[in-house]
Assembly symmetry: C2
Homo-oligomer: 448 residues x 2
């Protein structure tokens, strides 16, 4: 695939260097030892959700597919690796021809997950799979953390639209991915133009305090904005005095004024008189947008306020206290020997440090109760029990190195809303608690 | 500047879309109102440090210079803005010729800062300056947050080298910037190859648990690694049993073994017997690297342990609890009228929401006590008091649109170490407290 087709505001000629050095040194050692071609199964999962969270949200899958497809070592990259003596010539030769030829299965993007859910599975030779660890984890850990916060916020907001406006609070490219993840989690729009350009997410935005301050009076500023952007625009009313600004705004734009935005102060205290004032001025259709440092709790508290849309910045792009998911990428099975036909054997780390995991290639299914509500995340090795066969979660994403399908973000977003709706009601409680579904393991010792 | 010269693993043809939509709609309204060309002064500052932190660290300045230089609207970007009807044709025409022609002053990168420090100042027409808000804040807020965490960690580590290895816990491009910011804050190396490629930061890494699990025995894995990477390599010894692994490691590599790495368990409890065992086996020069979920407190607690290097991941790239700085970009002065020769007048938001700021173009100086230790951050408008003239903090970064100088990262890192050393000793206490310097304002009402 030509990366130019991705319409990136930032062209990614290769994702190969978004990689920890040890992936390449392991490759070199395995090539030399003759073990590099052993068929291997790596799984992405998390041992725990962030403290108090009830569910996780898979996000970034689409970006992972792009990253896998564009994971190539061109002359510039190879020259760097050679010059810095990071790997030897035999390894460089191998890397020059690198192209992932294996298979990827995973939870579809937007799906919810729990501790132990096998969110993604990468199968192929050890060599081709191990290299992808860092970039896959970067994407899934970042995007899923943002989507999880977004999902809590969007369920707290109910029918009120949410505007993502956190670009200035995070790395400029994280911001683009964050806007995407926020949309997956139920946000409506973004302020970030690059996210609109790259992912087609609807963008919004009208003006800041600087615009008011640029002009000699607030009235001048409002008039300039309405002249340029029309009466349907959103006027920012908290540069000086909110009540006076609301009056001026309706005088300038008339009752057709689209919205007023309040960016500071106690929003509950300001929104009520703002609504009353707008109504008294006849601007009954003029909306109120509030935007000051909101998190999911503030959004929930605003449910009773007369706001029509909430803008969320810092807390969204920082995952509302949990800026990263704790996903890991672990070898869970590999060929018993160097023989290409050797069967797979499960493997797992066994030290006493608490970082143990369960070996073997896993399936996952969500069991429903008699009312059709999810009651358990069931993860197993070996055959899938017949009663769960129709409830399996993993889908094929890449086959023999070919990406099978890319999905429109709206499909992903709808999937997330549906998956969340299928959980027990306590999933959308904001209070801290345990994961809303238990993870049950069905282990068949010999099955792989 | 040709962006290819930046040696980016990710080519950034333009940074123009790392921008909130309202910057462009404000531009359109100002162009129509005839106020777009009013000379304006924007300042970047923060109202507070993250709770309990003693100082901030300016990081990202070099990336800001790149972003300003590459802020251009090409045909693809203009086509997007047209198709989505984000701005009108007159604005598109103006954007097509965009090139920043103003001036930027700022704290040099690596310098420390406090609440109210005018970290960066952007001067030019309103139109050309307002567009840069989002991308400048994205970079400074992200990079400074990471550098501040890195600085605390590096002062806690003392002479022990710190390895940045958090790429998998953050967005793949944040990771590159985070490795850069970590280096500025005193880290020694990174695992992230893209950071080595892009910024020349030394990279390290040898192997993961997957490599041990790939092989039939731990001994096979160690032998394969030593065969490929030499006896000076670092062997990971906590896949199964640490004591047994250390014994095997020295048997395989001999006393010339470079290091052993421990990635789980209670590091203090494991490092001591590990050191003793290595010494008994004659591997007295073999180092111990510990890497499990460290933060600055864990690093400080390891000061008493026999570790020789610490690897830090999650807590570094997430800013150790503070993943973003709270910097804002505010219009502080603008031409009194549309007359090109009009004098500047200070401006500031004045609403009751607590988000007030001080108008006017500011200078900053760090006052020293009689022992040469910093005692106050002095910020003012108007003339600089004679006794502070030699202690001014801001330097010229861009003049008439031309970037004046780029600095090697080592220079920036050395500056940071020196700036931190110039603060009162309590700066490097890890415990929560107030900013170690008070910010004093010297306001001359008429001075601009």
């Amino acid at each position: 695939m030509n990366t130019a087709d991705l319409g990136l505001p930032v062209d990614v000629p290769s994702t190969a260097l978004f990689t920890d050095q040890y992936e390449l040194t392991m490759l070199q050692a395995a090539l030399k030892a003759g073990t590099a071609e052993r068929r291997s199964v790596f799984e992405v999962f998390t041992r725990r959700l962030p403290e108090g969270r009830r569910y996780g949200v898979v996000a970034g899958t689409g970006r992972v597919l792009d990253a896998v497809e564009n994971f190539r070592f061109d002359a510039g990259v190879l020259g760097f690796l050679r010059e810095r003596q990071i790997v030897d010539e035999a390894t460089l030769d191998w890397l020059a021809g690198y192209r992932f030829t294996g298979d990827v299965w995973g939870y579809p993007e937007g799906e919810v997950y729990f501790p132990g859910s096998p969110i993604m599975r990468v199968e192929g030779s050890f060599a081709e799979c191990v290299l992808l660890e860092t970039v896959i984890l970067s994407i899934l850990n970042h995007d899923s953390a943002i989507a999880a916060a977004a999902s809590r916020m969007s369920s707290a907001a109910g029918s009120r639209p949410l505007i993502e406006m956190g670009a200035r609070r995070t790395h400029e490219l994280s911001a683009v991915a964050a806007a995407r993840a926020a949309y997956v989690g139920g946000f409506t729009t973004t302020s970030d133009l690059a996210a609109g350009f790259r992912y087609g997410i609807p963008t919004v935005g009208t003006s800041a305090h600087a615009f008011t301050l640029l002009h000699d009076t607030e009235r001048d500023a409002f008039r300039a904005q309405v002249d340029a952007l029309g009466r349907g625009t959103t006027l920012l009313v908290d540069t000086y005095d909110v009540a006076e600004a609301v009056r001026t705004a309706v005088e300038v734009a008339g009752p057709e004024l689209g919205a007023v935005r309040i960016d500071s102060g106690d929003l509950l205290l300001v929104a009520h008189p703002g609504r009353q004032q707008l109504d008294e001025l006849g601007a009954t259709d003029t909306k109120i947008v509030v935007t000051s440092d909101l998190d999911e709790y503030a959004i929930a508290s605003l449910a009773a306020a007369p706001g029509d849309a909430d803008g969320v910045g810092t807390q969204l792009v920082t995952g509302s206290g949990h800026p990263t998911a704790a996903m890991v990428y672990k070898l869970v099975a590999r060929a018993e020997s160097d023989d290409p036909r050797a069967p797979l054997v499960p493997v797992a780390k066994k030290s006493s440090g608490g970082k143990t995991s369960i070996g073997g290639r896993k399936w996952a299914a969500r069991r429903l109760d008699e009312d059709g509500v999810a009651e358990a995340e069931v993860v197993g090795t070996g055959p899938v029990p017949a009663e769960l066969a129709g409830r399996q979660l993993q889908v094929e994403l890449v086959k023999d190195g070919e990406v099978l399908a890319r999905e429109p973000l709206d499909v992903v977003r709808d999937r997330h809303i549906a998956a969340r709706a299928g959980l027990p009601l306590s999933a959308i409680q904001l209070s801290r608690g345990e994961p809303v579904l238990p993870t049950e393991y069905v282990q068949v010792p010999s099955g792989n």
